[in-house]
C-alpha cells in the first residue's frame, strides 16, 4: 500500500516534469487570438476615412462576396511593411476593406498616397470600436469575412510574402 502511494506520487511528478519540459521547448506564442472566429460581424457603423467615401456597416459584408478586413493605422510601422503584400492580394482578386484605427483623414490620405491604396473602401475607427468588437488585439491584423458577414479567419501581425497564398486560400474557402 505504502509502496503504491510512493509510485503514484513519483509517476505524477515525472509526468509534471515531462509536461514542463515539452512545453518549454515550444516557441512562445505572443498573440492573443480573437474569440470571434465563426461568429457574424457585430453591428457597427463607421464613417469613411475620406469625405467622398460612404459609411461602412456590417451589412456591407453580407452581399455574397468574401472580403479581407484589414485593421491598420498610418502611425503603425509594420503596416508599411505589409503594404506591398496587400497590393499583391488585391492583384490576385481579393476585395480588401481597410479600417484605420485612431487615425486622422490627413494621415490616412498621406499613407495611401505614399504606400499604395489596395482598398475598395477605407473606414475610420477613431475610438477602436470595431477593433474591440471583433477581438482584434493590435495593428495590423487581417480578417477573412465570408459573403454572409461571418468572421472566418484572423491573421495577426503584418502580412509577409508567405502569408499571401494562405490568405488567398482562406478567401477561397470562404467562397471566393
Amino acid at each position: 500500500m505504502k509502496r503504491l502511494v510512493i509510485i503514484i506520487a513519483l509517476l505524477g511528478l515525472a509526468g509534471f516534469v515531462a509536461l514542463a519540459a515539452v512545453k518549454m521547448q515550444q516557441p512562445r506564442d505572443d498573440f492573443v487570438r480573437s474569440a470571434m472566429i465563426g461568429q457574424p460581424l457585430p453591428a457597427f457603423a463607421l464613417p469613411a476615412a475620406s469625405s467622398e467615401g460612404e459609411e461602412l456597416t456590417q451589412a456591407d459584408f453580407r452581399d455574397g462576396t468574401p472580403r479581407l478586413l484589414n485593421v491598420w493605422a498610418s502611425w503603425c510601422v509594420p503596416c508599411i511593411a505589409e503594404a506591398p503584400q496587400l497590393s499583391e492580394l488585391q492583384r490576385q482578386g481579393a476585395d480588401i476593406v481597410g479600417v484605420a484605427i485612431n487615425d486622422t483623414p490627413e494621415n490616412i490620405a498621406k499613407f495611401l498616397a505614399d504606400y499604395g491604396d489596395p482598398y475598395s473602401a477605407v473606414a475610420s475607427d477613431r475610438m477602436s470600436q470595431l477593433q474591440l468588437k471583433i477581438g482584434s488585439s493590435g495593428v495590423p491584423e487581417t480578417f477573412v469575412i465570408d459573403g454572409d458577414g461571418v468572421i472566418r479567419y484572423q491573421h495577426l501581425g503584418d502580412i509577409m510574402e508567405r502569408d499571401v497564398p494562405v490568405l488567398m486560400a482562406e478567401l477561397r474557402k470562404a467562397g471566393l
Binding site: R126, M127, S128, I134
Partner: protein, 140 residues
C-alpha cells in the same frame, strides 16, 4: 576647442530633436478617455480597479492601466466610456472575455479549464484529513 564645438553641436542637435519630438508624438493619436480620468471620482475608481485587472494585449505582462501601448489606450477609453455610462465592471470584463478569451482578464474565473485549481486544494485537504484520522486511529 574642437571638443567644445562638438558639445555646442550636440546641444544644437538636441534642440532640433526636441523641436521635432512633439510632432512624432502627435502622429499616434489616442481616444479622448485614454489619458483622462472620469469626472466622477467613484466611477473613475471603479474604472481604475477594472483596468488594473485587464491584460494589455500587445504587452502581456502589463495591465492596461500600466501600459502606454496604443491598444491599451483604446481599451482604457472603452472601459471608462462604459463605466461612465453606468455599466457594471464585471459585465465589461465578460464582454472583453467574449472577444479575447479568458486570457484578457487577470482575475481568474472558474471554468472548464480552471476548476481543478479550485478543487485541488480542497481534495488535498480532505486526503490529508483522512490520512491523519487513519494514523491517529491506528495508534489508539
Amino acid at each position: 576647442m574642437i571638443a567644445r564645438f562638438s558639445v555646442v553641436g550636440a546641444l544644437l542637435s538636441l534642440m532640433v530633436a526636441s523641436l521635432t519630438l512633439p510632432i512624432a508624438a502627435a502622429a499616434t493619436p489616442h481616444p479622448p478617455l485614454a489619458y483622462r480620468q472620469l469626472d466622477n471620482p467613484s466611477r473613475e475608481a471603479a474604472a481604475q480597479e477594472l483596468m488594473e485587472t485587464l491584460r494589455c494585449l500587445t504587452c502581456q505582462s502589463q495591465s492596461i492601466a500600466d501600459s502606454d501601448a496604443p491598444m491599451a489606450a483604446s481599451m482604457r477609453h472603452e472601459v471608462r466610456t462604459r463605466i461612465a455610462a453606468g455599466e457594471d465592471p464585471e459585465a465589461i470584463r465578460n464582454w472583453l472575455i467574449q472577444r479575447y478569451g479568458d486570457y484578457v482578464s487577470y482575475s481568474p474565473q472558474v471554468g472548464a479549464a480552471t476548476w481543478p485549481l479550485y478543487a485541488g486544494p480542497i481534495v488535498l485537504l480532505l486526503i490529508a484529513g483522512l490520512l491523519i484520522r487513519h494514523r491517529l486511529g491506528g495508534k489508539r
